[in-house]
Amino acid sequence: MRKSVYRTTVACVALMAAMAAPRQASAQGPQARGVDLSGEWAPRFHEDQPERIPGPEIGDYLGLPINAAARLHADSWDASLLTLPEHQCKPHPADYSPRGPANLRLWKEIDTASQNIIAWHTHISWQAPERTIWMDGRPHPPDYAAHTWQGFSTGRWEGDMLTVTTTHFKLGWIRRNGVPRSDAGTLVEHFLRHGNVLTLVSWINDPVYLDEPFVRTTNWELDPHQNIAPYPCQIVVEVDRPQGVVPHHLPGTNNFLNEFPVKYNLPAEAARGGAETMYPEYQLKLQAMQKAAGK
C-alpha cells in the first residue's frame, strides 16, 4: 500500500513536471537553486530487479514502446558481440546507467564569486561514467559535434525538482538484450529528493526506434558511508576471430527468442513488446489471449 501511494505521488509530481517542463534551457538566477542533491546515493532495486541485476532475458521486449525496426535489431543481437575488443569497455549511456549496478555520487560545481551552481556532476559505479549537467544556460552543441555515451546535458530547477535535457548520445540501449536507442534519441529527466530518497523519472524519446516516449523511475537512498570503488576496464582477446566478424543472428534464426514467453507462460505476441504493452490495459488483453489459448 505504501508503495502504491508512493508511486502515485511520484507520478503526480512527474505529471506536474511534464506540464511545466521548459522547452529549452536558460540561465536561472541565484534564487533558483532547488534542493541540495549532493551526496552518496545507494541504489534500490525493488523496481525491475530481475531486469536490472541478473539481466533481462533474450527476447523480452515486454513493456517497451518499440517499433518493428527495434524489434529486428534486438532479434539479431547476439551477446557474443560483447566479446569483440571494441565492445568490451563500453559504459552504459546516461539513459541506462542508473539502471545497472548504480551506486551514485552527485556533487555540484559552484562559481566562487556568485555562489551560483554552474553544474551538477554524477559518477556511477559500473564502468565509472561521469556526467556533467550544465546549469549556466549554455546551449547544446551543434549537430556536427561529437556524440558521447553520457550525451550533453543541461539542467533547470522547477521548484525543488531538477529537470535535465540530454542530447548528443551515441547509439545505446534501453534494455540489455539488444533493444536499441539510436543516437538521435533524447532524454528528459526529473531528479526528485524526498528526504533521504532520491527518485529519477526519465523520459527517452527516439524517433528511430520508439513509437512513444519510454518512461521509467529509479530510486536511491542516501548512504553517507558509501565509497565507490574504481572501475578500470582492460580489453583482452576473448575469442580469436578473423578480422571483421560481427556476431549476430540472421533474421529468423534466433532460437532463443521463444525461451522467455515459454518460461513465463506468456503469449509470444506479448513478449514482442510495443507501446500497447506498456499500459495497464494490456493486462486485460493478456488475460484474454491466455484464456483463448486455454491457459
Binding site: A18, A21, E47, Q49, A69, E86, P141, R216, T217
Partner: protein, 351 residues
C-alpha cells in the same frame, strides 16, 4: 511484469498528456545525423553522375569550423567535410567541398591561420570533395626550390591517389570532367604516401575499391585524427560508386582498417577522432557501430543470395529495416534500394 507495474503505472498517468520536451526533439538533436534530418539537406557524394546531385542552391549554405584536437579542425556545411590542419608550416586541407563554397571556406581558414595553403589532399574524385581544388589551390603556394623559390605563385600541391587524377582528367582531344587547375599535381600509386607537415606525420593511405577506386584516408599521427572521405559517413548507408570502382567488400575492409587505426581513451570514447566524409565528428565507438551495421546488412544479403533470392526478393525481405530510420531514405540520389542493389550486385557478381 515489473515493467507493466512500474513504467506502465507512470506512463498510464503521463503518457496521455504530451510531455512538452519529450514530444519536441531538441533543435540541436533534430539534425544530429539521423536519417530523416540528413535527407535532402546535403548529398553525400555522387556515385554515378559526375557533377550531378549537388544541392541546387549553395548561396545560403553555412560553413562552420569545429576544433577537433591537436592541429586539426573540421569544417562542415554544404558539401563534403573539409579537414584543416594548421601550424607554422602553413595550412593543409583534406578535400575542398564545392567550388561555390570556396570563399566561405577560405574565410574560415583565415580565422585559424594567415599562413599559405601548402597542401590539398583529395580523398576521392567526387566534386563535393574536389570541387574547390581550383579556387583554393590557386590561392595557395608550394614551397619550391631552384629558380621557382619560396612562395612562388604555383598554387598549393594537390595530392591524391593516381586513380583520382585519371578520373578528373581525360585523354588528349576529349573533354575532361574537371579543369586542369583542379587536377592533382602529386599522385601516388603505392599503398601509402607520407608527408611531414606542421610538426606531425601525415599518412595518406590508399583504400582499394571502397567508395571508389581512388580512395585515400588521411591520418594525422600527432594530433591523432583520421579523415576518412566517404568511406565513412554518418548521414547515409555507404555510398558505393560501382561505376568508379567502388565495392561493399572494399568499404567493409576499409572500415575494419580504420577500426584498427583508431584507439579510444578510457570508457571507449575519444582518443582517436574520426572526421567522416559527411556528418558529425566521430570516434571509434561511432565507427564501430557503423561497421557492425554494414557488416550485418552484408551478411543478410549474402545469405539471401545463397538461398537463391532475386534482387526484388532481397529488397522485399527488408534486410536494412532496423537501420532505415537512421540511414535510409526513399528519395534523393542514394536511396536504400540503391544501396541494397549495389550490395546485391557486388556479392552476386551480377551487373
Amino acid at each position: 511484469m515489473c515493467v507493466l507495474a512500474a513504467a506502465g503505472g507512470v506512463v498510464a498517468m503521463l503518457g496521455l498528456l504530451a510531455h512538452p520536451q519529450a514530444q519536441q526533439a531538441n533543435p540541436a538533436q533534430t539534425n544530429a545525423g539521423r536519417g530523416q534530418a540528413g535527407r535532402g539537406q546535403q548529398p553525400a557524394g555522387q556515385p554515378t553522375q559526375g557533377r550531378g546531385g549537388r544541392p541546387q542552391n549553395l548561396d545560403n549554405a553555412e560553413v562552420h569550423v569545429l576544433p577537433v584536437q591537436g592541429n586539426v579542425y573540421m569544417l562542415v556545411g554544404g558539401g563534403g567535410n573539409v579537414t584543416i590542419q594548421i601550424g607554422d608550416d602553413g595550412v593543409l586541407l583534406v578535400d575542398t567541398s564545392f567550388p561555390q563554397l570556396s570563399d566561405k571556406i577560405l574565410a574560415e581558414i583565415r580565422k585559424l591561420s594567415t599562413k599559405p595553403i601548402r597542401y590539398i589532399v583529395n580523398t576521392h574524385v567526387h566534386d563535393d570533395h574536389v570541387g574547390g581544388n581550383e579556387n583554393l589551390g590557386k590561392r595557395g603556394n608550394t614551397i619550391a626550390g631552384g629558380n621557382v623559390g619560396n612562395d612562388a605563385p604555383t598554387g598549393a600541391t594537390i595530392i591524391a591517389h593516381e586513380n583520382v587524377l585519371n578520373r578528373m582528367s581525360a585523354p588528349t582531344g576529349t573533354q575532361a570532367p574537371f579543369p586542369v587547375a583542379a587536377w592533382p599535381t602529386d599522385t601516388y600509386f603505392t599503398k601509402q604516401k607520407e608527408v611531414f607537415f606542421n610538426n606531425e606525420a601525415v599518412v595518406i593511405m590508399h583504400q582499394p575499391a571502397a567508395h571508389t577506386d581512388g580512395d585515400s584516408i588521411v591520418y594525422f599521427r600527432r594530433s591523432d585524427v583520421v579523415s576518412t572521405g566517404d568511406i565513412f559517413v554518418t548521414t547515409s548507408y555507404p555510398i558505393i560508386d560501382q561505376a568508379r570502382g567502388g565495392s561493399i567488400t572494399g568499404i567493409i575492409k576499409s572500415l575494419n582498417y580504420l577500426l584498427d587505426l583508431a584507439i579510444p581513451k578510457d570508457k571507449q570514447e575519444g582518443g582517436t577522432y574520426i572526421i567522416p566524409g559527411h556528418g558529425r565528428l566521430c570516434d571509434e565507438a561511432d565507427l564501430l557501430e557503423y561497421r557492425d551495421m554494414v557488416t550485418i546488412i552484408r551478411d543478410r544479403i549474402e545469405d539471401l543470395i545463397k538461398k537463391g533470392r532475386t534482387l526484388e526478393q532481397v529488397k522485399a525481405a527488408k534486410p536494412t529495416l532496423d537501420y532505415d530510420g537512421r540511414y535510409g531514405t526513399t528519395t534523393g540520389f542514394w536511396t536504400t534500394d540503391m544501396f541494397i542493389e549495389a550490395v546485391y550486385k557486388d556479392l552476386s557478381g551480377k551487373k
